[in-house]
């Protein structure tokens, strides 16, 4: 089963892919009694500037895949490439945005945004102008001198996006970035993300368990199976943005994705219940 995607991968040219995964597998705590398999045989190519959503039941390893692509964790098998180079460590080319706020509370907004530049050793003027530009792009130019605890949840996530953009990443990795926000704010943030994505040329990998969110945003939706995570299917969405969530096409897509997910969610639930009983 694994051999077929491999031949497919070999035919594609690796230099043009923003992210290329070759038979990726990940086992947590390998070699111990607590070992469990998170991912199995993931083959996936993501093009430059593409918007891809990872959809799956919780605990299916979609976030793990994102961490592997970021280089924060190492795969137990297979290889990840980004623009022709093997991913071995984290890089500013691939910025990660988390679900919970990950701003440094002791820094002001602009210092947060320019954190990566200061790591690199850029001067103050440079840092400030880049921070100002990035904050303008997320519509928070007035909040330069504020501290994170003075901002709302949605504003904080916009600062996190600005911080990622300040590094001019080629790939934007987002781990359920809007999951902690209320529905109205999330709607706004989705529109905002599409604008930001259009202006930058970065590819976006967006982990979510919301079908609506995947349908509203993505060029392609990668549907994962329950644990161990494998790619069940990839659903392309060829609709112009902004998308009307009540259109017939979106409705059909939602139905299709719901059907695809249902079995996996049932399986994940059954497994969790079995686990709970065994404990």
């Amino acid at each position: 089963m694994a051999s077929e995607p491999r031949t497919l991968a070999e035919t594609s040219t690796p230099c043009t892919t923003a992210v290329g995964c070759r038979t990726i597998s990940k086992v947590w705590a390998q070699g111990t009694a607590r070992a469990h398999e998170a991912l199995r045989d993931i083959d996936l190519d993501i093009g430059p500037g593409e918007f891809v959503a990872f959809l799956g039941p919780s605990g299916c390893g979609k976030s793990t895949l994102l961490y592997l692509i970021a280089g924060l964790e190492q795969a137990t098998g297979g290889e990840i490439q980004s623009f022709g180079k093997v991913v071995a460590a984290p890089s500013p080319d691939r910025s990660l945005i988390f679900q919970e706020t990950s701003l440094f509370p002791w820094l002001t907004v602009w210092q947060n945004v320019s954190f990566g530049l200061s790591i690199r050793g850029d001067g103050l003027d440079q840092r400030k102008s880049v921070a100002r530009e990035a904050l303008q792009r997320v519509g928070l130019a007035e909040a330069m001198e504020k501290r994170p605890d003075e901002l709302s949840g949605g504003m904080r996530q916009r600062v996190a996006v600005a911080r990622a953009l300040a590094m001019r990443p080629k790939v934007l990795l987002m781990d359920e970035p809007f999951a902690a926000l209320d529905v109205q704010t999330r709607q706004k943030m989705q529109d905002f993300l599409i604008d930001v994505w259009r202006e930058s040329s970065a590819s976006v990998l967006f982990v979510t368990h919301h079908i609506d969110e995947a349908v509203a945003l993505a060029d392609r939706v990668v549907v994962f199976t329950a644990r161990p995570g494998r790619i069940k299917t990839i659903v392309p969405i060829d609709l112009p943005r902004p998308r009307d969530p009540f259109s017939r096409e979106c409705e059909a897509l939602r139905r299709q994705l719901t059907d695809l997910l249902r079995d996996e969610v049932d399986r994940a639930f059954a497994e969790q219940e079995a686990l709970a009983e065994s404990v």
């Binding site: 440094f104 990566g116 790591i119 400030k128 605890d149």
Partner: protein, 314 residues
């Protein structure tokens, strides 16, 4: 560039001040608001102490508390000048020096307080610098962790009192053994809590720094250390009371000036009034130093919201 840098930095601070500083009027109203908020708290604190004193006085009034053993507040606080005479401990043991020569009673009181407070402050400072350095080194260097952490864990439950003979053997008599006792009482716990705080740093913050290309040193210097500071200051504040307790024990072994000396002398000369007077003094000093620490905490940790503050006494 060397010229442009400081100028732009100055510009930056000016701009920030201009932007963030509230006008004089709002500052005044903020101050008023804070005073109003602090008023009920102060009231309750005074009531609490007053109630305790009243109970004591009542017990004295009905004849349960013997004034020779448990003199109530109006007795041990009433005779201020008489009490202050005993604080002249340094000259007490010198030949030809009487109770009435040397510094005035009030001067003696301040000398005694200053001596003890200095030992507490020096001990705290040394202990916090040492323990943060060791704690960070334990997490930074794997080998150091393996070589040092077991010994520290082993020694941390040992009561500081057990170290008293060691302090005297090594440092003799004077300031050094008292400061050593404060350091030893705080060091092991603070190392362990530094390690604990480092382990508790939000992993996302470290991941962000890693994706930005930060080195291990940068991650420690710019993420981990600022992230553990709030927790460490709380630990330091909790240990402040410990420092006040230990310093008295150390001082009672004979270091010249010091509140511990006064208590020891009060014990030897059977002077319960002096004991309670000194206890009241120590309580007040401990409270004031905690308040000072909280002030420092607010200054250094400007980003920590006040509402989540632990131990928010007064």
């Amino acid at each position: 560039m060397s010229m442009a840098q400081p100028l732009s930095r100055l510009d930056d601070t000016l701009e920030r001040r201009g932007g963030a500083r509230p006008s004089r009027r709002t500052m005044w109203s903020m101050l008023q608001q804070r005073l109003l908020l602090a008023l009920p708290k102060t009231g309750w604190a005074l009531l609490s102490i007053g109630l305790f004193a009243c109970l004591w006085e009542l017990l004295w009034g009905i004849g349960v508390a013997d004034p020779r053993l448990l003199p109530p507040p109006h007795i041990f606080l009433g005779n201020f000048p008489e009490q202050l005479k005993f604080f002249n401990t340094a000259q007490r043991w010198q030949i030809g020096v009487g109770q009435n020569s040397g510094p005035s009673p009030l001067q003696a009181l301040f000398l005694t307080i200053a001596a003890t407070a200095m030992r507490v402050a020096a001990g705290l400072l040394i202990a916090s610098i040492l323990s943060i350095a060791v704690g960070v080194a334990i997490r930074y260097f794997k080998l150091f962790d393996r070589l040092v952490l077991p010994t520290i864990t082993l020694l941390s439950p040992v009561s500081p009192i057990a170290w008293l003979p060691v302090a005297i053997f090594v440092f003799g008599i004077g300031n050094a053994p008292a400061i050593f006792m404060v350091v030893i009482a705080l060091f092991f716990h603070m190392v362990l809590s530094t390690v604990n705080q480092i382990d508790g740093v939000n992993k996302n913050l470290i991941s962000v720094a890693r994706t930005m290309g930060a080195t291990k040193r940068q991650i420690y210097g710019r993420v981990i250390i600022p992230a553990i500071l709030p927790g460490l200051l709380v630990v330091l504040r909790l240990n402040l009371f410990g420092a006040w307790m230990v310093v008295l024990v150390a001082e009672s072994t004979g270091v010249g000036y010091g509140l511990g000396q006064v208590i020891m002398m009060a014990r030897n000369t059977f002077n319960p009034s002096l004991v309670f007077f000194t206890i009241a003094l120590i309580g007040l000093l401990g409270f004031l130093s905690d308040w000072l620490m909280r002030l420092i905490q607010r200054r250094i940790l400007y980003w920590v919201p006040q509402t989540t503050e632990v131990l928010n006494g007064l």
